[in-house]
């Protein structure tokens, strides 16, 4: 027996504001609501209000987790906060969250900036903290408000992204087998320009604020807004995800048939169906649900884990593959055991 990290609990939170396909169809006259659903698999996105930040969504998710009595704030000895929409350049949002969640002052707290691969990265960091004896209970919060980066006239990204957060408790347990891992990581910064908010940081600040048309489309944005080259991101995904899956199987010494369930970053329905097909995974073993919430970036995987567990799709003893991929480019894959 050895000290192993495992996922003890997950609690997700979506803001109350919504954006439906009907609303999008009204705004963009030539689009039909059912067509948007057919392509994206999304019926409703949840959108943070003007004064609601990623940190607020993260606090709500964490409070729900504490209310379930699985763990108290005083038991947390490390907080990892994954976001690309922090409250401030400084201080670290995790420090603000330590106070708001009433975590101990001898609790470690750090932000890390990752997008769609962020949850799997967070698991790797949490596992390392737990299995080196550095921490016993790690609170991993993924939270994102991409809506604040999105130009209202950019329909290509407005249809896809929703805001949301998840609080995941990674704790230690004595176990014979590893419960999280192995990990595969991947990075290719050549893709940085394909999914980016160009202005607002140090490289390009202040923003010009000039509105430009995106390609031949009817979408518009400024350099302060999120830009996504959908076709190029799709190319990246088709190249990268099957390779990451093969590397994960090779590293774990398992055959694909030994994996009970597959949860990929819920990017959009079209992409996920292509990936499922390419990976030759049966629909019964593959999570695909963006209906409520859409693409919440770093929180799609924990939200899917929570939902799949409630729906009885994954159960105690199951070995589940998790793969996150996107902005960066960055990707990460791992296996976990449900206990």
């Amino acid at each position: 027996m050895k000290t192993c990290a495992f996922i003890k609990a997950i609690s997700s939170f979506l803001p109350s504001g919504t954006l439906t396909n009907e609303q999008l169809a009204l705004e963009f006259g030539d689009w039909k609501a059912d067509k948007i659903f057919e392509k994206t698999g999304i019926a409703t996105r949840h959108i943070a209000s003007r004064d609601e930040c990623s940190s607020d969504l993260g606090v709500a998710a964490a409070r729900q987790l504490f209310e379930s009595d699985i763990c108290s704030p005083a038991e947390i000895d490390f907080l990892l906060f994954c976001t690309q929409s922090p409250d401030y350049f400084l201080p670290t949002t995790a420090c603000l969250l330590q106070d708001r969640l009433e975590l101990r002052t001898d609790c470690g707290a750090v932000d890390f900036n990752q997008g769609c691969s962020g949850f799997v990265y967070g698991l790797a960091l949490a596992k390392s903290l737990v299995e080196t004896g550095t921490a016993t209970n790690v609170l991993l919060i993924t939270a994102e408000t991409y809506s604040k980066f999105i130009n209202p006239q950019d329909r290509s990204v407005r249809t896809i992204f929703g805001d949301g957060a998840a609080a995941t408790l990674v704790s230690s347990v004595e176990s014979r087998d590893e419960l999280i891992g192995p990990f595969i990581f991947g990075t290719d910064g050549r893709g940085a320009c394909e999914l980016i908010v160009p202005a607002g940081g140090m490289r390009q600040s202040p923003a010009s604020g000039t509105t430009v048309k995106i390609g031949d489309s009817e979408s518009w944005r400024t350099d302060r807004d999120l830009y996504m080259n959908g076709p190029e991101i799709f190319n990246f995904t088709l190249r990268t995800v099957p390779r990451a899956m093969n590397q994960l199987l090779e590293k774990s010494g398992l055959g694909q048939e030994e994996i009970d369930y597959f949860i990929l970053h819920q990017a959009n329905k079209f992409m996920l169906e292509r990936l499922r097909n390419k990976l030759k995974i049966s629909p019964e073993k593959f999570w695909l649900d963006l209906r409520t919430g859409g693409n919440t970036v770093s929180s799609t995987i924990p939200i899917a884990l929570e939902s799949a567990s409630k729906a009885g799709k994954i159960k105690t003893g199951d070995r589940v593959a998790l793969i996150g991929f996107g902005v960066g480019y960055s990707w990460a894959a791992t296996l976990m055991r449900v206990i």
């Binding site: 290509s156 390609g215 031949d216 080259n229 076709p231 190029e232 799709f234 190319n235």
Partner: protein
């Protein structure tokens, strides 16, 4: 490459019937938006296991040009693999 067979698959991506589409079919902002390009990328990947750079894909102006682009990439990527 069987151009005729592939045109039929591309018809789906363009939301056109097989009778309507030919190599002369023009691609423009109305029928060659990012959704159509995603569908084309999927069809090309499924049939040929190659990816086409999105910029080149966005610039083709007819189905015939698209087929030429795919053929060029099949040649390049198979040469690169050897």
């Amino acid at each position: 490459m069987d151009r005729e067979a592939f045109i039929i698959e591309i018809a789906d991506a363009l939301n056109m019937s097989q009778d309507e589409i030919s190599e002369e079919t023009l691609l423009n902002a109305d029928n060659w938006d990012s959704v159509a390009q995603l569908a084309a990328i999927a069809a090309i990947d499924e049939r040929f296991s190659i990816t086409i750079p999105s910029k080149a894909l966005a610039e083709v102006r007819s189905v015939g040009e698209l087929l030429n682009l795919v053929e060029r990439n099949i040649t390049q990527q198979s040469a690169g693999a050897q």
